[in-house]
């Protein structure tokens, strides 16, 4: 194992092991201390790797939320630097080597910390502003036979950025598992649990995802397997229950005004709505409880239509609405798990009003689907037409003239009926105080519609490699 790519691959494998290890039985304090310490170490190593990868470039001042959106790579650096640490202290490394923690999840965290440490050292050794960097990436000798060092490569530099962003996203996902384990372990670990689930978690996931998209927006090495992708709209980050209604309103606007959702986007949206309705039903009483549960069942049924669908969209759609609703669902789930917040009368009112918006949101989803069905943006894979391999590639037919279209119209009708019934049964509530809505809207960072970025110059590469030649000003006459 010599090259930077090998080290990063090993770090990714170790992080995959962390995600695969079950955290549900991680309860022993010794295991928790070792895992928390290893997690802090992994975070520090990723921050170090990012600093070397981008040659420590970045503004000295604090980045605002919109700065992070416009410069996601710097935002990822800031998110890694500001990400909260658990602060727990576990055994010394020598003790860990002699007596590894018994729980598999804890052992996986220790291994991931060691692998990320090795990867960070490797990146520090082979930082991309050095000419031999591209060769170290591939595990080749650092100089050619004629003594001239090989040049760096924007494609490789961005591939490494993509890997670090993917690792940061993986760490954010693993943090959630570890936070659950800390949360179950009693008051001693409550500060660690809060540190892992605070706002910096959202910052890290969002900037990691944006950086990954940005890195993929241009050519990467052939063995990286990742064609171009684009950044979508950013969801409103929810920080209090007052953000629920603006976020749901934005989801509805995105559905009604935005592009037609693709099949996976419809499935994701309906599943998120189903989960939100289910959680809200558990927090409700009276007739609203059963109404929301029925709505959850209807939304889940609608989602399953797309889980085994032969229909594809010829457009890319937009994930913004789905991300926004998932953020809402995640916030509701987190709020209901924290008893001190659910006792807050304002929060209870906000959550109840959010429940009342769900039927309208699902009707907006079916309206989005119907518009797409009428415009003919869907193709269906007609299995009756497939006789041999050659025919398989041309078995796509427009859904607009295909009998299968009725299945999707019927599903939309059923969901509309369920939404109407739920809207009728849910109790009506007084509107939210305007001041609460205004404060949330002021922080709304969503942009209408998606934008497709061009990948900028990699900041760590010499100008001759990365930047296009600047156009000379014509001489003044």
């Amino acid at each position: 194992m010599n090259s930077t790519a090998d080290r990063l691959s090993a770090a990714a494998a170790a992080l995959v092991d962390v995600l695969a290890a079950g955290h549900s039985t991680l309860a022993d304090p010794k295991d928790l201390l070792a895992a928390g310490q290893a997690r802090d170490q992994a975070l520090a190593c990723l921050a170090l790797a990012h600093r070397y990868l981008f040659a420590g470039l970045g503004p000295d001042r604090e980045l605002s939320a919109s700065d992070m959106l416009r410069h996601p790579v710097l935002g990822l650096g800031a998110a890694l630097a500001h990400r909260s640490v658990t602060g727990v202290t576990g055994p010394a490394p020598t003790d860990l080597a002699l007596h590894p923690p018994p729980h598999p999840a804890s052992r996986a965290w220790v291994a991931a910390a060691a692998a990320l440490d090795a990867a960070a050292v490797e990146i520090a050794r082979a930082r991309p502003d050095k000419p031999q960097w591209a060769w170290l990436w591939m595990g080749l000798p650092p100089s050619t036979a004629d003594g001239i060092p090989p040049p760096g490569s924007p494609a490789i530099a961005w591939a490494l950025a993509a890997d670090v962003a993917a690792l940061a996203g993986g760490l954010a996902a693993a943090d959630r598992d570890l936070a659950d384990a800390f949360g179950r372990a009693g008051e001693r670990f409550t500060p660690a649990c809060q540190a892992l689930t605070d706002d910096t978690l959202t910052d890290l996931s969002v900037t990691a995802e944006l950086t990954l998209r940005l890195a993929e927006a241009g050519p990467l090495p052939d063995d990286y397997h990742l064609p171009a992708a684009a950044v979508g709209s950013r969801p409103l980050v929810l920080t209090s229950s007052a953000d629920l209604l603006p976020a749901l309103a934005r989801t509805r606007d995105l559905l009604l005004d935005g592009p037609t959702l693709t099949g996976p986007q419809q499935r994701g949206l309906a599943a998120a709505a189903g989960r939100a309705a289910l959680r809200l039903s558990q927090a409700s009483a009276g007739s609203g409880r059963q109404a929301l549960r029925d709505l959850a069942g209807a939304a889940t049924g609608f989602a399953t239509i797309w889980a085994s669908s032969d229909v594809r969209s010829i457009e890319t759609g937009d994930w913004a609405a789905v991300r926004q609703l998932r953020a809402v669902t995640g916030f509701v789930e987190a709020s209901l798990q924290r008893p001190h917040q659910s006792q807050d009368a304002m929060a209870v009112g906000d959550i109840a009003r959010a429940a009342a918006r769900l039927p309208g949101l699902l009707r907006a989803a079916t309206a989005n689907l119907r518009a797409g069905l009428d415009r003919g943006v869907f193709l269906v894979y007609d299995r009756l037409l497939v006789h041999d391999e050659a025919a398989a590639a041309t078995a796509w037919r427009p859904l607009i003239t295909h009998p299968a279209r009725r299945r999707y119209l019927r599903a939309a009708d059923q969901l509309d009926t369920a939404a109407d019934q739920a809207a009728h049964q849910l109790p009506s509530l007084p509107p939210a105080p305007p001041a609460r809505l205004r404060s949330a809207l002021a922080r709304d960072l969503l942009r209408p519609g998606g934008h497709h970025p061009e990948r900028p110059t990699h900041p760590a590469l010499p100008p001759s490699l990365g930047r296009p030649a600047t156009r000379r000003r014509p001489p003044a006459r």
Binding site: A12, G22, P227, A229, A271, W319
Partner: protein, 101 residues
């Protein structure tokens, strides 16, 4: 009219998707389990590069434990991105597999 492009996935991932698609539609399962199956499908299908879609699969009866096992058996030749997606999908199913770690 452009033909959809299919994102290459391993046979194990495709079979896991078949099992998950069936579980999501299985009315005998608890709603939480069906939503977990949909979430796992989302991890496998949602984050593909623009212009790509996963290959269509037929629902196939099976247990969530089987899908979880298939997702955990990804080879080392699979790209980092797909391996992390499979691990995230498996993590969604973890509470319903009855597996003790």
């Amino acid at each position: 009219m452009s033909q959809p492009r299919t994102w290459p996935q391993t046979p194990r991932t495709c079979r896991a998707r078949s099992l998950l698609a069936h579980a999501a539609a299985d009315q005998t399962l608890d709603l939480e389990q069906r939503l977990a199956a949909l979430d796992a499908l989302g991890e496998l299908e949602d984050d593909l590069p623009a212009g790509y879609a996963p290959a269509p699969v037929d629902p196939e009866p099976g247990r969530l434990t089987d899908a979880h096992r298939l997702l955990g058996e990804q080879g080392h030749d699979v790209p980092v991105r797909d391996r992390i997606a499979a691990a995230r999908a498996a993590a969604r199913l973890q509470p319903w597999t009855g597996a003790r770690s």
